[in-house]
Symmetry: D2
């Protein structure tokens, strides 16, 4: 059997490399938009959506009003709001529809993806590139050691949690006090 320690090291190495190659400027732009927005909506599919949900949950604990597109009690989006789209290829049908609609309501759209030249470009006001190989296998992409788009989904989660920690430090929040925003019924 392949060795756990060796394999987990390969994964954390490619994850670390990917995260350190994200543009600081792009992350700062996204962070600023999150803090400026009245409400922050998230859209994605599959494991990407799961990473976005984790981000939405953590940011909610920091006092940001976050919503998942399609959730039971989703408010209307307005021009004061931000839509964060997670899509490695930038070609997934459902996020494209939602991004288009969000622009019709004059919301700001941020795309976190692997491919800056995607169809999502028509709707995105800002783009944060996670430099991983996408399903499209574009030239210059470093192939991941992992199956499918695992590396994108992992990087997305850690990127979101990095933004959360940046906000905690910038606002000098008391991390222990954060539990008060947390659901207390679980």
């Amino acid at each position: 059997m392949a060795d756990y320690r060796e394999v987990t090291q390969e994964i954390t190495q490619e994850l670390t490399r990917t995260l350190s190659n994200i543009s600081t400027h792009e992350v700062e732009q996204l962070t600023a938009e999150i803090q400026k927005a009245e409400k922050v909506f998230f859209v994605g599919v599959g494991r990407v959506l799961l990473s976005l949900k984790s981000i939405a949950k953590r940011l909610a604990h920091l006092g940001i009003k976050t919503y998942i597109v399609g959730q039971i009690t989703e408010p209307a989006i307005t021009e004061k709001d931000l839509l964060i789209v997670g899509s490695g290829s930038g070609e997934t049908a459902f996020p494209l529809i939602i991004a288009k609609k969000a622009k019709q309501f004059n919301a700001t759209v941020a795309h976190i993806g692997g491919n800056p030249q995607s169809s999502m470009r028509d709707y995105a006001d800002l783009f944060v590139k996670i430099p991983v190989s996408t399903k499209l296998q574009l030239p210059g992409e470093i192939p991941s050691v992992q199956p499918m788009t695992s590396l994108f989904e992992q990087s997305l989660l850690i990127l979101g949690d990095t933004i959360a920690l940046l906000m905690v430090r910038e606002k000098e929040m008391d991390m222990h006090a954060l539990w008060k925003y947390h659901a207390n019924l679980e």
Copy 2:
């Protein structure tokens, strides 16, 4: 093959009978608590949870702040809030835990169920009886023609929608205007 028209008639008849046997007084109490609460939480499992989610979604369109226990961005419950528990038997483990916790935070707990003598009685401030046969097959229960607890889940949905319509009429809401509270990204 059994005839569609005949079978759907049997179902709507038992549904109509069940709904007309719910106590007006109990429904009025529940409606008053929903309108008084700062936030309304819902808990249940399986198809009961799906009916509760539909109710939460409709009430949100009427301006009520509704949350499903366990949803991604669930706030903390307080003594100004209402927890609505859906449980036919009143013995389902997860709702019992949540109801107990909600009482620890001094929230109001409303139980919609089939059995007033259940364990949920220890936590519920009010009880709305949907008079259907429960899994426990208590004496005096009229057996449903349908499998499992379908009749309870159907009755729960229509009860919730009746409360919504009662609120629309009482407040003389413009039903067309309700769409403005609705998600606009779907």
Copy 3:
């Protein structure tokens, strides 16, 4: 305050009328496709999706392999499978995309809706009409006493549960034995 008993009677009356006006032939076609399919997929949004999930859950208890489009562990659709689309207007963007894709994989597509002349017509192999007023307010539609599309969502749930009961009777299933297919961890 408007009276509970009166209002619930108005609702059950329009629900009963709607269900009794669905075509027996269309229901029989849909039931036959459900029984013929290797796997049955469901797609919809909002409260319509919640009704479809309830139907999927009940049919699963009858031994049908059911899946919600977008669920965590969703298999690939094939030409042996059925996609059931719930959409009152037949114009909702997400179900339209999914129906189009399902046809590309040669799956059978059944549309349950209010409007036979919708864009969904291009993809649907069969159509079951729930004769309710849609958001589009087509000529000849009887307006519902209820807000938004509640009547469609209620009718959809009861239609699904009627199909379940038709199957129980046709196959002479022992309704008590159905609990063995049920999740036992809740």
Copy 4:
């Protein structure tokens, strides 16, 4: 503003350290149980549940039959099945109830957590320790730089994806071929 690159480095460092301190033996035991099981169930709450769902989804692509406790079409658990519980503290109420029930049906229970001396010990057949600080702040725990239990949730996701990659290599799967198990309707 705190610097993105610096902060993401702190996070990937503590993530890498945590993952490299998980016992190879415990991971091998868990991997063996996953491969032996007829069906694999997952239970957790909040962000832990989101990580578990990502794992379930990836393992499903490798041909493992995975289910989330509470999902719409959840089968009954049997003595041939595995329940994987994610809970940092091992004291969360809902996973404890489910683990207890799973043992009543003689399923195997694996607990992935931070605290080996928790109440979950009464039900768990095997334990995989993710060595992070838990909410309980046990002696000897290294505090995370991140708020709440982010480090646990991140480590859990990467642990699951490491197990997936171990299985891919052990079985010499063609990673490109994995897309055939993937949902094709998104």
